[in-house]
Protein backbone atom coordinates (compact mmCIF):
# COMPACT_ATOMS: atom_id res chain seq x y z
CA UNK A 1 0.00 0.00 0.00
CA UNK A 2 1.65 3.19 -1.28
CA UNK A 3 -0.38 6.06 0.08
CA UNK A 4 -0.04 9.72 0.99
CA UNK A 5 -1.16 9.39 4.58
CA UNK A 6 0.20 10.04 8.05
CA UNK A 7 -0.83 8.02 11.11
CA UNK A 8 -3.14 5.21 9.89
CA UNK A 9 -5.19 5.54 13.07
CA UNK A 10 -5.99 9.22 12.41
CA UNK A 11 -7.17 9.00 8.82
CA UNK A 12 -10.74 10.02 9.48
CA UNK A 13 -9.92 12.91 11.79
CA UNK A 14 -7.38 14.29 9.31
CA UNK A 15 -9.50 13.96 6.22
CA UNK A 16 -12.41 15.70 7.93
CA UNK A 17 -10.12 18.48 9.02
CA UNK A 18 -8.90 18.77 5.43
CA UNK A 19 -12.43 19.00 4.07
CA UNK A 20 -13.38 21.66 6.60
CA UNK A 21 -10.24 23.65 5.73
CA UNK A 22 -10.90 23.40 1.99
CA UNK A 23 -14.56 24.40 2.19
CA UNK A 24 -14.98 26.71 5.20
CA UNK A 25 -17.63 28.68 3.31
CA UNK A 26 -19.81 25.58 3.16
CA UNK A 27 -19.12 23.28 6.12
CA UNK A 28 -17.73 23.23 9.62
CA UNK A 29 -16.60 20.44 11.86
CA UNK A 30 -18.14 20.12 15.32
CA UNK A 31 -17.17 17.75 18.17
CA UNK A 32 -14.72 16.06 15.83
CA UNK A 33 -17.03 13.88 13.78
CA UNK A 34 -20.13 15.93 13.09
CA UNK A 35 -19.88 17.68 9.75
CA UNK A 36 -22.35 20.59 9.89
CA UNK A 37 -23.33 23.41 7.60
CA UNK A 38 -21.25 26.55 7.88
CA UNK A 39 -24.50 28.56 7.88
CA UNK A 40 -27.21 26.57 9.67
CA UNK A 41 -30.60 26.26 8.00
CA UNK A 42 -33.37 28.32 9.55
CA UNK A 43 -35.12 26.53 12.41
CA UNK A 44 -38.53 26.42 10.76
CA UNK A 45 -37.32 23.97 8.13
CA UNK A 46 -36.93 20.21 8.47
CA UNK A 47 -33.33 19.15 9.20
CA UNK A 48 -31.67 16.25 7.35
CA UNK A 49 -29.20 14.03 9.18
CA UNK A 50 -27.31 11.00 7.97
CA UNK A 51 -24.63 8.70 9.35
CA UNK A 52 -22.00 6.33 8.05
CA UNK A 53 -18.40 5.24 8.10
CA UNK A 54 -15.67 7.18 6.30
CA UNK A 55 -13.52 5.81 3.50
CA UNK A 56 -16.18 6.51 0.88
CA UNK A 57 -15.22 10.10 0.09
CA UNK A 58 -16.78 12.40 -1.00
CA UNK A 59 -19.75 10.52 0.54
CA UNK A 60 -21.42 11.24 2.84
CA UNK A 61 -20.10 14.43 4.42
CA UNK A 62 -19.27 15.95 1.04
CA UNK A 63 -22.98 16.71 0.62
CA UNK A 64 -23.54 18.83 3.70
CA UNK A 65 -24.72 22.29 2.74
CA UNK A 66 -27.59 24.33 1.42
CA UNK A 67 -30.21 22.15 -0.26
CA UNK A 68 -28.83 18.84 0.95
CA UNK A 69 -27.72 17.61 4.38
CA UNK A 70 -27.63 19.51 7.66
CA UNK A 71 -25.36 17.10 9.50
CA UNK A 72 -23.40 14.04 8.51
CA UNK A 73 -22.34 11.92 11.48
CA UNK A 74 -19.08 10.33 10.44
CA UNK A 75 -17.78 7.01 11.72
CA UNK A 76 -14.27 5.70 11.29
CA UNK A 77 -13.21 3.83 8.12
CA UNK A 78 -16.10 1.59 6.96
CA UNK A 79 -17.50 1.66 10.52
CA UNK A 80 -20.82 3.11 11.62
CA UNK A 81 -20.51 5.90 14.20
CA UNK A 82 -21.71 4.94 17.65
CA UNK A 83 -25.25 5.86 18.80
CA UNK A 84 -24.32 8.71 21.20
CA UNK A 85 -22.77 10.72 18.39
CA UNK A 86 -25.88 10.33 16.31
CA UNK A 87 -27.88 11.48 19.31
CA UNK A 88 -25.62 14.51 19.59
CA UNK A 89 -26.47 15.42 16.00
CA UNK A 90 -30.17 15.16 16.82
CA UNK A 91 -29.72 17.39 19.84
CA UNK A 92 -27.92 19.95 17.72
CA UNK A 93 -30.65 20.29 15.10
CA UNK A 94 -33.73 19.49 17.15
CA UNK A 95 -36.65 21.71 16.12
CA UNK A 96 -40.41 21.87 15.87
CA UNK A 97 -40.26 21.19 12.14
CA UNK A 98 -38.66 17.84 12.87
CA UNK A 99 -35.69 15.79 11.72
CA UNK A 100 -35.41 13.36 8.83
CA UNK A 101 -32.75 10.72 9.36
CA UNK A 102 -31.49 8.90 6.27
CA UNK A 103 -29.73 5.62 7.05
CA UNK A 104 -28.09 3.30 4.53
CA UNK A 105 -29.09 -0.30 5.04
CA UNK A 106 -25.97 -1.81 6.59
CA UNK A 107 -26.07 -3.72 9.89
CA UNK A 108 -23.96 -1.31 11.94
CA UNK A 109 -25.57 1.86 10.66
CA UNK A 110 -29.08 0.54 11.15
CA UNK A 111 -28.38 -0.59 14.72
CA UNK A 112 -26.64 2.66 15.65
CA UNK A 113 -29.43 4.74 14.14
CA UNK A 114 -32.02 2.67 15.93
CA UNK A 115 -30.44 3.09 19.35
CA UNK A 116 -29.91 6.81 18.76
CA UNK A 117 -33.53 7.25 17.74
CA UNK A 118 -34.71 5.53 20.93
CA UNK A 119 -32.47 7.79 22.99
CA UNK A 120 -33.78 10.83 21.13
CA UNK A 121 -37.38 9.84 21.66
CA UNK A 122 -36.69 9.50 25.37
CA UNK A 123 -35.64 13.17 25.24
CA UNK A 124 -38.72 14.18 23.29
CA UNK A 125 -36.96 14.72 19.98
CA UNK A 126 -38.96 13.49 16.97
CA UNK A 127 -37.03 11.78 14.23
CA UNK A 128 -38.46 10.13 11.14
CA UNK A 129 -36.17 7.65 9.43
CA UNK A 130 -35.76 6.45 5.88
CA UNK A 131 -33.57 3.38 5.47
CA UNK A 132 -32.29 3.22 1.90
CA UNK A 133 -32.44 -0.30 0.45
CA UNK A 134 -32.20 0.38 -3.27
CA UNK A 135 -29.55 -2.19 -4.14
CA UNK A 136 -30.46 -4.77 -6.77
CA UNK A 137 -29.77 -8.25 -5.41
CA UNK A 138 -29.33 -11.44 -7.43
CA UNK A 139 -32.69 -12.70 -6.21
CA UNK A 140 -35.73 -10.47 -5.82
CA UNK A 141 -36.67 -11.67 -2.33
CA UNK A 142 -33.38 -10.51 -0.79
CA UNK A 143 -33.44 -7.11 0.85
CA UNK A 144 -31.06 -4.66 -0.79
CA UNK A 145 -28.32 -2.67 0.92
CA UNK A 146 -28.08 1.10 0.76
CA UNK A 147 -25.52 2.10 -1.85
CA UNK A 148 -24.81 5.37 -3.69
CA UNK A 149 -28.50 6.10 -4.25
CA UNK A 150 -28.57 7.78 -0.83
CA UNK A 151 -27.21 10.85 -2.60
CA UNK A 152 -30.46 11.15 -4.55
CA UNK A 153 -32.48 11.02 -1.35
CA UNK A 154 -30.31 13.72 0.24
CA UNK A 155 -30.62 15.91 -2.85
CA UNK A 156 -34.35 15.57 -3.41
CA UNK A 157 -35.54 15.40 0.19
CA UNK A 158 -33.00 18.13 0.97
CA UNK A 159 -34.52 20.38 -1.68
CA UNK A 160 -37.99 19.68 -0.27
CA UNK A 161 -36.81 20.62 3.22
CA UNK A 162 -35.13 23.75 1.89
CA UNK A 163 -38.44 24.77 0.32
CA UNK A 164 -40.02 24.62 3.77
CA UNK A 165 -42.13 21.48 3.29
CA UNK A 166 -43.40 19.64 6.38
CA UNK A 167 -41.67 16.60 7.84
CA UNK A 168 -44.46 14.42 6.51
CA UNK A 169 -43.92 15.72 3.00
CA UNK A 170 -40.15 15.56 3.17
CA UNK A 171 -40.43 11.99 4.43
CA UNK A 172 -42.98 11.09 1.76
CA UNK A 173 -40.76 12.45 -0.99
CA UNK A 174 -37.57 10.83 0.33
CA UNK A 175 -39.39 7.53 0.70
CA UNK A 176 -40.69 7.83 -2.86
CA UNK A 177 -37.14 8.35 -4.11
CA UNK A 178 -35.98 5.28 -2.20
CA UNK A 179 -38.75 3.20 -3.72
CA UNK A 180 -38.29 4.48 -7.26
CA UNK A 181 -34.55 4.15 -7.46
CA UNK A 182 -32.25 1.21 -8.07
CA UNK A 183 -28.49 0.75 -7.75
CA UNK A 184 -26.46 -2.12 -9.10
CA UNK A 185 -22.75 -2.40 -8.44
CA UNK A 186 -20.02 -4.03 -10.48
CA UNK A 187 -16.59 -4.66 -9.01
CA UNK A 188 -13.46 -5.63 -10.93
CA UNK A 189 -10.69 -4.91 -8.42
CA UNK A 190 -10.97 -4.91 -4.67
CA UNK A 191 -10.11 -2.08 -2.28
CA UNK A 192 -7.50 -2.17 0.42
CA UNK A 193 -8.44 -1.12 3.93
CA UNK A 194 -6.47 2.12 4.34
CA UNK A 195 -5.60 1.58 8.00
CA UNK A 196 -4.59 -2.07 7.85
CA UNK A 197 -3.47 -2.30 4.22
CA UNK A 198 -5.44 -5.56 4.05
CA UNK A 199 -7.41 -6.49 0.97
CA UNK A 200 -11.17 -6.70 1.47
CA UNK A 201 -11.74 -10.00 -0.33
CA UNK A 202 -10.13 -11.43 -3.43
CA UNK A 203 -10.85 -11.44 -7.16
CA UNK A 204 -9.39 -13.25 -10.18
CA UNK A 205 -7.34 -11.67 -12.95
CA UNK A 206 -10.16 -11.68 -15.50
CA UNK A 207 -13.10 -11.76 -13.15
CA UNK A 208 -15.77 -9.23 -12.29
CA UNK A 209 -18.69 -9.37 -9.89
CA UNK A 210 -22.13 -7.84 -10.29
CA UNK A 211 -24.47 -7.12 -7.39
CA UNK A 212 -21.22 -6.69 -5.47
CA UNK A 213 -21.36 -4.63 -2.32
CA UNK A 214 -19.37 -1.59 -1.44
CA UNK A 215 -16.41 -3.15 0.30
CA UNK A 216 -15.80 -6.40 -1.50
CA UNK A 217 -17.88 -8.28 1.07
CA UNK A 218 -19.12 -10.33 -1.83
CA UNK A 219 -22.55 -11.73 -2.27
CA UNK A 220 -22.72 -10.92 -5.94
CA UNK A 221 -22.41 -13.00 -9.04
CA UNK A 222 -18.94 -13.58 -10.49
CA UNK A 223 -18.33 -13.79 -14.19
CA UNK A 224 -15.70 -13.06 -16.82
CA UNK A 225 -14.75 -9.43 -17.29
CA UNK A 226 -16.86 -7.85 -20.05
CA UNK A 227 -16.68 -4.80 -22.30
CA UNK A 228 -18.20 -1.51 -21.21
CA UNK A 229 -21.20 -2.05 -23.45
CA UNK A 230 -21.90 -5.63 -22.39
CA UNK A 231 -21.53 -4.75 -18.72
CA UNK A 232 -23.66 -1.61 -18.96
CA UNK A 233 -26.42 -3.46 -20.80
CA UNK A 234 -26.41 -6.31 -18.31
CA UNK A 235 -26.76 -3.88 -15.41
CA UNK A 236 -29.21 -1.55 -17.13
CA UNK A 237 -31.40 -4.52 -18.02
CA UNK A 238 -31.70 -5.37 -14.34
CA UNK A 239 -32.56 -1.76 -13.54
CA UNK A 240 -35.36 -1.79 -16.13
CA UNK A 241 -36.70 -4.94 -14.55
CA UNK A 242 -36.51 -3.78 -10.95
CA UNK A 243 -38.09 -0.38 -11.60
CA UNK A 244 -40.55 -1.75 -14.17
CA UNK A 245 -39.49 0.94 -16.62
CA UNK A 246 -41.46 1.24 -19.83
CA UNK A 247 -41.54 3.41 -22.92
CA UNK A 248 -41.99 7.08 -22.13
CA UNK A 249 -40.64 6.87 -18.58
CA UNK A 250 -38.17 9.58 -17.60
CA UNK A 251 -35.11 8.68 -15.56
CA UNK A 252 -32.08 10.17 -13.89
CA UNK A 253 -29.04 8.04 -14.71
CA UNK A 254 -25.90 8.15 -12.66
CA UNK A 255 -22.60 6.34 -13.07
CA UNK A 256 -20.78 6.40 -9.76
CA UNK A 257 -17.14 5.33 -9.94
CA UNK A 258 -15.74 3.22 -7.10
CA UNK A 259 -12.27 4.78 -7.05
CA UNK A 260 -9.80 3.29 -9.50
CA UNK A 261 -12.08 3.22 -12.51
CA UNK A 262 -11.27 6.24 -14.67
CA UNK A 263 -13.76 8.93 -15.61
CA UNK A 264 -13.08 7.88 -19.21
CA UNK A 265 -14.51 4.45 -18.48
CA UNK A 266 -17.45 5.91 -16.58
CA UNK A 267 -18.33 8.25 -19.43
CA UNK A 268 -18.17 5.41 -21.95
CA UNK A 269 -20.34 3.38 -19.60
CA UNK A 270 -22.83 6.25 -19.31
CA UNK A 271 -23.04 6.35 -23.11
CA UNK A 272 -23.60 2.61 -23.38
CA UNK A 273 -26.22 2.51 -20.63
CA UNK A 274 -28.04 5.62 -21.87
CA UNK A 275 -28.23 4.18 -25.39
CA UNK A 276 -29.67 0.99 -23.98
CA UNK A 277 -32.42 2.88 -22.15
CA UNK A 278 -33.12 5.19 -25.08
CA UNK A 279 -33.48 2.18 -27.41
CA UNK A 280 -36.31 1.03 -25.15
CA UNK A 281 -37.96 4.45 -25.30
CA UNK A 282 -36.93 5.25 -21.72
CA UNK A 283 -35.78 8.87 -21.64
CA UNK A 284 -32.57 9.71 -19.81
CA UNK A 285 -33.49 13.28 -18.92
CA UNK A 286 -30.81 13.95 -16.31
CA UNK A 287 -27.35 12.47 -15.85
CA UNK A 288 -24.31 12.48 -13.61
CA UNK A 289 -20.99 10.71 -14.10
CA UNK A 290 -18.25 10.86 -11.54
CA UNK A 291 -17.10 9.69 -8.13
CA UNK A 292 -19.83 10.11 -5.56
CA UNK A 293 -19.62 7.21 -3.15
CA UNK A 294 -16.23 5.53 -3.55
CA UNK A 295 -14.53 2.60 -1.83
CA UNK A 296 -10.87 3.55 -1.77
CA UNK A 297 -9.11 2.21 -4.88
CA UNK A 298 -11.67 -0.42 -5.77
CA UNK A 299 -12.31 -0.66 -9.51
CA UNK A 300 -15.87 -0.80 -10.78
CA UNK A 301 -18.89 1.40 -10.52
CA UNK A 302 -22.49 1.66 -9.42
CA UNK A 303 -25.19 2.24 -11.99
CA UNK A 304 -27.91 4.26 -10.29
CA UNK A 305 -31.26 5.16 -11.78
CA UNK A 306 -34.30 7.01 -10.48
CA UNK A 307 -37.66 6.97 -12.15
CA UNK A 308 -38.72 10.59 -12.08
CA UNK A 309 -42.11 12.13 -11.61
CA UNK A 310 -42.73 15.87 -11.94
CA UNK A 311 -42.16 16.46 -8.23
CA UNK A 312 -38.86 14.61 -7.90
CA UNK A 313 -37.53 16.01 -11.16
CA UNK A 314 -38.18 19.60 -10.13
CA UNK A 315 -36.53 19.01 -6.75
CA UNK A 316 -33.51 17.37 -8.41
CA UNK A 317 -33.07 20.56 -10.44
CA UNK A 318 -33.35 22.85 -7.40
CA UNK A 319 -30.19 24.70 -6.41
CA UNK A 320 -27.84 23.32 -3.80
CA UNK A 321 -24.37 24.24 -2.60
CA UNK A 322 -22.18 21.66 -0.91
CA UNK A 323 -18.47 20.81 -1.19
CA UNK A 324 -19.04 17.98 -3.66
CA UNK A 325 -22.35 18.71 -5.33
CA UNK A 326 -23.52 22.06 -6.53
CA UNK A 327 -26.48 23.02 -8.66
CA UNK A 328 -26.42 26.62 -9.86
Amino acid sequence: MKKFINDPTHLTAELLEGMAMAYPQKIKLESEKLVCRAKPKSADKVALVTLGGSGHEPALQGWVGTGMLDISVVGDIFAAPGPPKVLEAFQKVKREAGILLVTLNHAGDVMSADMAKQMAEAEGITVKEIITTEEIRPSADEEGRGLGGCMLVYKIAGAAAEKGMTLDDVYRIGDKVNKNMATIAVLSEIATHPSTGGECGEMGEQEMEICAGQHGEGGGVRMDMKSSKDTAELLAGKVVEKLGLTKGDEILLMVNGSGKTTLMEMLITFRDAAKFFEAKGIKVVRGETGEFLTVQEAAGYQLIALKFDAETKALWDAPCDTPYYTVA
Partner: protein
Protein backbone atom coordinates in the same frame (compact mmCIF):
# COMPACT_ATOMS: atom_id res chain seq x y z
CA UNK B 1 -12.94 -18.52 44.39
CA UNK B 2 -16.68 -18.65 44.37
CA UNK B 3 -17.98 -15.14 44.96
CA UNK B 4 -18.57 -12.78 42.12
CA UNK B 5 -17.86 -9.09 42.64
CA UNK B 6 -16.88 -5.94 40.85
CA UNK B 7 -13.17 -6.66 40.94
CA UNK B 8 -13.74 -10.14 39.51
CA UNK B 9 -15.68 -8.70 36.63
CA UNK B 10 -12.98 -6.10 36.03
CA UNK B 11 -10.32 -8.81 35.92
CA UNK B 12 -12.45 -10.84 33.53
CA UNK B 13 -12.98 -7.96 31.15
CA UNK B 14 -9.29 -7.05 31.22
CA UNK B 15 -8.38 -10.59 30.30
CA UNK B 16 -10.94 -10.53 27.50
CA UNK B 17 -9.37 -7.29 26.25
CA UNK B 18 -5.93 -8.89 26.32
CA UNK B 19 -7.17 -11.83 24.27
CA UNK B 20 -8.67 -9.52 21.66
CA UNK B 21 -5.43 -7.53 21.52
CA UNK B 22 -3.69 -10.76 20.58
CA UNK B 23 -6.28 -11.92 18.09
CA UNK B 24 -7.35 -8.75 16.29
CA UNK B 25 -5.35 -9.30 13.13
CA UNK B 26 -6.72 -12.78 12.66
CA UNK B 27 -10.23 -11.40 13.23
CA UNK B 28 -9.81 -8.77 10.50
CA UNK B 29 -8.63 -11.50 8.17
CA UNK B 30 -11.76 -13.51 8.92
CA UNK B 31 -13.89 -10.44 8.23
CA UNK B 32 -12.11 -9.91 4.91
CA UNK B 33 -13.53 -13.23 3.77
CA UNK B 34 -17.17 -12.52 4.51
CA UNK B 35 -17.34 -8.82 5.37
CA UNK B 36 -15.34 -5.63 5.02
CA UNK B 37 -12.16 -6.72 6.74
CA UNK B 38 -12.38 -4.50 9.79
CA UNK B 39 -13.84 -6.58 12.60
CA UNK B 40 -10.44 -6.95 14.28
CA UNK B 41 -10.14 -3.18 14.35
CA UNK B 42 -13.64 -2.56 15.67
CA UNK B 43 -13.63 -5.25 18.33
CA UNK B 44 -10.18 -4.19 19.52
CA UNK B 45 -11.26 -0.56 19.59
CA UNK B 46 -14.35 -1.59 21.52
CA UNK B 47 -12.52 -3.74 24.06
CA UNK B 48 -9.88 -1.06 24.53
CA UNK B 49 -12.73 1.34 25.24
CA UNK B 50 -13.97 -1.14 27.84
CA UNK B 51 -10.51 -1.24 29.42
CA UNK B 52 -10.25 2.53 29.44
CA UNK B 53 -13.69 2.98 30.97
CA UNK B 54 -12.81 0.46 33.69
CA UNK B 55 -9.60 2.31 34.53
CA UNK B 56 -11.40 5.64 34.63
CA UNK B 57 -14.35 4.42 36.67
CA UNK B 58 -12.84 1.88 39.13
CA UNK B 59 -14.40 3.63 42.11
CA UNK B 60 -17.94 3.82 40.84
CA UNK B 61 -20.58 1.36 41.96
CA UNK B 62 -20.82 -1.59 39.56
CA UNK B 63 -24.02 -0.42 37.86
CA UNK B 64 -22.57 3.02 37.14
CA UNK B 65 -19.29 1.52 36.06
CA UNK B 66 -21.04 -0.74 33.55
CA UNK B 67 -23.11 2.18 32.30
CA UNK B 68 -19.89 4.15 31.76
CA UNK B 69 -18.42 1.16 29.93
CA UNK B 70 -21.50 1.00 27.69
CA UNK B 71 -21.30 4.69 26.85
CA UNK B 72 -17.61 4.46 26.03
CA UNK B 73 -18.24 1.42 23.85
CA UNK B 74 -21.01 3.16 21.95
CA UNK B 75 -18.88 6.27 21.53
CA UNK B 76 -16.33 4.40 19.49
CA UNK B 77 -17.05 3.85 15.84
CA UNK B 78 -17.36 0.14 15.94
CA UNK B 79 -19.54 -0.65 12.95
CA UNK B 80 -21.96 -3.33 14.09
CA UNK B 81 -19.83 -4.11 17.11
CA UNK B 82 -20.33 -0.94 19.06
CA UNK B 83 -24.14 -0.82 19.23
CA UNK B 84 -24.23 -4.58 19.90
CA UNK B 85 -21.72 -4.58 22.75
CA UNK B 86 -23.05 -1.22 23.95
CA UNK B 87 -26.44 -2.87 24.35
CA UNK B 88 -24.84 -5.82 26.09
CA UNK B 89 -23.17 -3.60 28.70
CA UNK B 90 -26.34 -1.55 29.19
CA UNK B 91 -28.09 -4.85 29.87
CA UNK B 92 -25.43 -5.88 32.38
CA UNK B 93 -25.69 -2.48 34.04
CA UNK B 94 -29.45 -2.80 34.42
CA UNK B 95 -29.02 -5.97 36.53
CA UNK B 96 -25.99 -4.91 38.54
CA UNK B 97 -27.96 -4.52 41.74
CA UNK B 98 -24.88 -4.58 44.00
CA UNK B 99 -21.09 -4.66 43.83
CA UNK B 100 -21.06 -8.22 45.14
CA UNK B 101 -23.44 -10.73 43.68
CA UNK B 102 -24.79 -14.14 44.63
CA UNK B 103 -24.70 -16.95 42.11
CA UNK B 104 -28.33 -16.29 41.19
CA UNK B 105 -27.67 -12.58 40.79
CA UNK B 106 -24.63 -13.33 38.65
CA UNK B 107 -26.76 -15.53 36.42
CA UNK B 108 -29.36 -12.76 36.21
CA UNK B 109 -26.63 -10.22 35.36
CA UNK B 110 -25.44 -12.12 32.31
CA UNK B 111 -28.97 -13.04 31.30
CA UNK B 112 -29.85 -9.32 31.29
CA UNK B 113 -26.81 -8.63 29.12
CA UNK B 114 -27.98 -11.20 26.59
CA UNK B 115 -31.55 -9.93 26.69
CA UNK B 116 -30.62 -6.35 25.92
CA UNK B 117 -28.12 -7.48 23.28
CA UNK B 118 -30.95 -9.43 21.63
CA UNK B 119 -33.13 -6.33 21.42
CA UNK B 120 -30.57 -4.59 19.23
CA UNK B 121 -29.37 -7.69 17.46
CA UNK B 122 -32.66 -9.38 16.57
CA UNK B 123 -30.52 -12.34 15.49
CA UNK B 124 -31.66 -15.92 15.91
CA UNK B 125 -29.42 -18.89 16.54
CA UNK B 126 -27.88 -19.99 13.25
CA UNK B 127 -27.94 -16.53 11.65
CA UNK B 128 -24.13 -16.57 11.71
CA UNK B 129 -23.63 -13.69 14.12
CA UNK B 130 -22.27 -12.99 17.60
CA UNK B 131 -25.49 -14.47 18.88
CA UNK B 132 -24.28 -17.95 17.93
CA UNK B 133 -21.57 -17.69 20.60
CA UNK B 134 -23.23 -15.37 23.10
CA UNK B 135 -26.48 -17.27 23.48
CA UNK B 136 -25.02 -20.75 24.21
CA UNK B 137 -22.33 -19.19 26.43
CA UNK B 138 -24.93 -17.39 28.52
CA UNK B 139 -27.18 -20.43 28.69
CA UNK B 140 -24.30 -22.63 29.82
CA UNK B 141 -23.30 -20.07 32.45
CA UNK B 142 -26.81 -19.67 33.80
CA UNK B 143 -27.36 -23.42 33.83
CA UNK B 144 -24.08 -24.12 35.64
CA UNK B 145 -24.77 -21.48 38.28
CA UNK B 146 -28.30 -22.75 38.68
CA UNK B 147 -26.98 -26.29 39.14
CA UNK B 148 -24.75 -25.02 41.95
CA UNK B 149 -21.54 -24.87 40.02
CA UNK B 150 -18.87 -22.49 41.29
CA UNK B 151 -17.79 -19.36 39.38
CA UNK B 152 -14.64 -20.84 37.80
CA UNK B 153 -16.34 -23.94 36.49
CA UNK B 154 -19.41 -21.97 35.35
CA UNK B 155 -17.24 -19.66 33.23
CA UNK B 156 -15.28 -22.60 31.90
CA UNK B 157 -18.55 -24.12 30.75
CA UNK B 158 -19.59 -20.80 29.21
CA UNK B 159 -16.25 -20.48 27.44
CA UNK B 160 -16.53 -23.98 26.03
CA UNK B 161 -20.07 -23.30 24.83
CA UNK B 162 -18.99 -20.02 23.18
CA UNK B 163 -16.14 -21.78 21.39
CA UNK B 164 -18.48 -24.51 20.22
CA UNK B 165 -21.01 -21.95 19.04
CA UNK B 166 -18.37 -20.02 17.12
CA UNK B 167 -17.13 -23.25 15.57
CA UNK B 168 -20.59 -24.02 14.26
CA UNK B 169 -20.89 -20.72 12.41
CA UNK B 170 -18.65 -22.29 9.77
CA UNK B 171 -21.60 -24.31 8.56
CA UNK B 172 -24.11 -21.46 8.47
CA UNK B 173 -25.40 -19.14 5.79
CA UNK B 174 -25.53 -15.59 7.22
CA UNK B 175 -28.95 -14.06 7.78
CA UNK B 176 -27.80 -10.75 9.23
CA UNK B 177 -24.75 -8.49 9.06
CA UNK B 178 -22.57 -7.82 6.04
CA UNK B 179 -22.12 -11.52 5.30
CA UNK B 180 -25.89 -11.84 4.68
CA UNK B 181 -25.50 -11.18 0.97
CA UNK B 182 -22.92 -13.92 0.47
CA UNK B 183 -25.50 -16.68 0.54
CA UNK B 184 -24.02 -20.17 0.23
CA UNK B 185 -20.56 -18.71 -0.29
CA UNK B 186 -20.37 -17.89 3.41
CA UNK B 187 -20.33 -21.60 4.23
CA UNK B 188 -16.88 -22.73 5.27
CA UNK B 189 -16.01 -19.39 6.86
CA UNK B 190 -16.24 -18.56 10.56
CA UNK B 191 -18.28 -15.56 11.61
CA UNK B 192 -15.73 -13.10 13.01
CA UNK B 193 -18.13 -11.64 15.58
CA UNK B 194 -18.91 -15.08 17.02
CA UNK B 195 -15.20 -15.86 17.18
CA UNK B 196 -14.64 -12.59 19.07
CA UNK B 197 -17.29 -13.49 21.61
CA UNK B 198 -15.59 -16.84 22.13
CA UNK B 199 -12.25 -15.08 22.77
CA UNK B 200 -14.02 -12.81 25.26
CA UNK B 201 -15.59 -15.70 27.17
CA UNK B 202 -12.29 -17.56 27.08
CA UNK B 203 -10.83 -14.49 28.76
CA UNK B 204 -13.58 -14.58 31.39
CA UNK B 205 -12.74 -18.21 32.17
CA UNK B 206 -9.00 -17.60 32.20
CA UNK B 207 -9.41 -14.72 34.68
CA UNK B 208 -11.27 -16.80 37.24
CA UNK B 209 -9.39 -20.07 36.87
Amino acid sequence: MSTFDKSTLIRMLKQAEANIDTEHEALSKLDALTGDGDHGITIQRTMNAVGKALDDGMDKPLADLLKAVAMKVMMCDGGSTSPLLGSYFLGLASAATADELTAAQTAALFQAGLDNFSKTSKAKLGDKTMMDALLPATEALVQALHDGGDIPSAFSAASAAAAQGAEKTKDYVAKLGRARTMGQRAIGHYDPGAVSISHIFRGFAEAVN
